[in-house]
């Protein structure tokens, strides 16, 4: 079993074998989560703190549930409401928390790189729950698990990521992960929201949905991030839906068995038509949420194992 990371800060530092390891462990937690007794004691005695400097319902509750099912003591801190408002810096907040001896720190922050910065200052395992426009590794891992279960494999697939790529950390992490696992990735969206620089990561860029979706195995829709937009990237939501919203006509260009994904929360009628989202034959959106809990359990389990062996090694040196 190969997973050597101290933190989960992004997909970029991961080796393909490490990605496979996380997914394999997560499969076992999928089974556990479907039983009546959902408890394991993998994190028994450990403290998990969720620090969200940005609003989140889905990711935060998914992490909270994952920690609780593994037996950790879980604490949620809503950081928008707290000391940041009183002028405390990120580093001071980190040092304060560190003094409480957490074992797992789950962090979301509105600025790219903020979680990396925080990880340098604490001596516990840090999980990035999304930093600015940089990475959102557990989302990419849960998407990968969903694809692997639906398609039976996670390589040599044609995958289209559609919509607001520029503002999306989900897109960056997915791009990285799917590339590492040797898939062909296409980015589809209006040129104002799909930076041309992404060509250098080895993906193809389309500004037409019909062409972009032609014969793909997976259609991954992204949310139009209204809150990150600082001025006119698209003329209007209705024009966006007409040209880039996923409806039955556009989906007809994909392979007949193509699956539809969305990281949520959805803007129905903006980037995705409600009937597609609800079509149980095509949409795996609910499954993604289920995989999210399992993948987060797997990630925290693996990091906790590394943390324990590192601490044992340290103790050995001291003896």
């Amino acid at each position: 079993m190969a997973f050597r990371q101290k933190h989960l800060l992004g997909i970029e530092p991961l080796h393909p074998d490490e990605i496979t390891t996380v997914l394999d462990v997560a499969e076992r937690y999928v089974d556990l989560n479907r039983q009546a007794n959902k408890h394991s004691d993998a994190l028994k005695g450990l403290t998990q703190i969720n620090m969200f400097f940005e609003n989140s319902t889905r990711t935060q509750s998914s992490f909270e549930l994952a920690g609780k099912r593994l037996g950790a003591d879980v604490m949620n801190m809503a950081m928008q409401a707290s000391s940041i408002k009183k002028g405390e810096t990120l580093i001071d907040t980190a040092l304060t928390l560190n003094a409480m001896h957490p074992d797992l720190l789950v962090v979301r922050h509105p600025h790219s790189g903020a979680v990396d910065l925080l990880a340098q200052k604490v001596n516990c395992a840090v999980l990035n729950a999304g930093d600015g426009k940089h990475e959102h590794p557990t989302q990419a891992l849960l998407d990968a698990l969903t694809i692997r279960r639906a398609k039976g494999r996670l390589h040599r697939l044609n995958i289209a990521i559609c919509g607001d790529i520029a503002h999306s950390r989900v897109a960056r992490s997915n791009l990285m992960l799917l590339g590492k696992m040797e898939n062909r990735v296409r980015l589809v969206g209006p040129p104002t929201l799909v930076p041309q620089q992404f060509k250098e990561f080895g993906c193809e860029i389309y500004d037409d949905m019909a062409e972009g979706l032609k014969d793909v195995d997976v259609v991954m829709m992204l949310r139009l991030q209204k809150e990150r937009m600082d001025g006119g990237f698209i003329p209007s939501e209705r024009e966006y839906f007409y040209r880039y919203g996923l409806d039955a006509d556009k989906l007809a260009h994909a392979k007949p068995d193509a699956i539809v994904m969305h990281p949520g929360p959805m803007n129905r009628g903006v980037e995705i038509d409600g009937t597609i989202a609800d079509d149980i034959n095509r949409s795996v959106i609910q499954e993604q949420v289920e995989m999210g809990v399992a993948v987060r359990m797997a990630a925290m389990d693996l990091l906790a194992r590394n943390l324990k062996s590192a601490r044992e090694a340290d103790a050995g040196v001291m003896v």
């Binding site: 990120l90 790219s112 790189g113 990396d116 426009k133 940089h134 620089q197 992404f198 250098e200």
Partner: protein, 421 residues
Amino acid sequence: MTIFTNARLIDPEAQTDTLGWLRLDGNVIAETGTGTPPEGAHVDCAGKCLAPGIVDLGVKVSEPGERHKESFASAGRAAAAGGVTTIVTRPDTLNAIDTPEVLEFVQRRAASDAIVKVKHMSALTKGREGREMVEIGFMRDAGAVAFTDCDHVVADTKVLQRALTYAKSCGALVIGHPQDPCLSKGASATSGKFAALRGLPAVSPMAERMGLDRDLAMIEMTGASYHFDQITTSRALPALERAKQNGFDVTAGVSIHHLTLNELDVGDYRTFFKVKPPLRSEEDRLAMVGAVASGLVDVISSMHTPQDEESKRLPFEEAASGAVALETLLPAALRLYHAGQLTLPELFRAMSLNPAKRLGLETGRLSEGAPADLVLFDADAPFVLDRFTLRSKSKNTPFDGARMQGIVKGTWVDGQRVFEA
């Protein structure tokens, strides 16, 4: 009367690099020569380089307002240790240097505290807000050597047109920051693969050319004397070259960081590498080195910008821009010499002679009658930089832990030794 013997004389005017001697007469250079030196008190240079002291155009000394970041005393010591004999200060202080009264304050502070020469620049508009020009005539009479709003671009071209026209009537030099203010708003990296990977808000390098093109049109319209503080992208160079060929009174500079570092050095969000404009691609860096060698870009400066630890220990987007560089300017510039890209006379043309000429100062030369502002350095001596040994109050250097070559052995200002290694 002091005679420097056995010195490798770096003469940026003659573009020569010869072994010889140099005689001082009081506070000026009396003569230079080869062969047997005249009698008198000797400083044996042991074959090390003797060059005109560096004239650093665009140094931020954080007085008034943020003396905890840098004072005239600490900046003066850092300058002397870095071979900088004339500091030309920026007016982007708190508050801005935009009235004769504030200018008089900093002049008094500099005269009493700094061990090197200090010249001051004035803001171009009040509060650097781009609305009303400062009292250019009064400021010029009070000793301001140039007028600049630093990294604030005067967005209103009507305001800029009037300021340039008025400055011309006073014979004043205006320094501008070529950048399109809308396109570059909020950016902390140069757009490209690296910024996309790191998810940082980025600006196209084209924003610099757009700013340059606009300012060149304003120069053509008003006939003003104009210097671009930092040209950092290859796309901006052809327009600059055309403007010079057409005879406009225009010069340009580049910071040492844009000559020796590129965007990839930011690595994992290292905020000491956050500068303004952001670091560019390696192609742009090499183009700028070439432009300095050819003389198209006239001036290399440190763009010394002290920031305390607190303003740098933040997520990259929120962290303050700028790096201290008074003490690292020379060893960093020597990287280009050791790489065979620039000769020592070419380097000192850009660091000493050209900035002095542009500001109408006598210094920056090894010729007879020039002020005895000199730096003696060993161009080859290696060292590893430890930022906590810097004399600046702020330690925000991107070269912490870097292997460098070039150690200053001594610095003289008006014939007086102000630094000894």
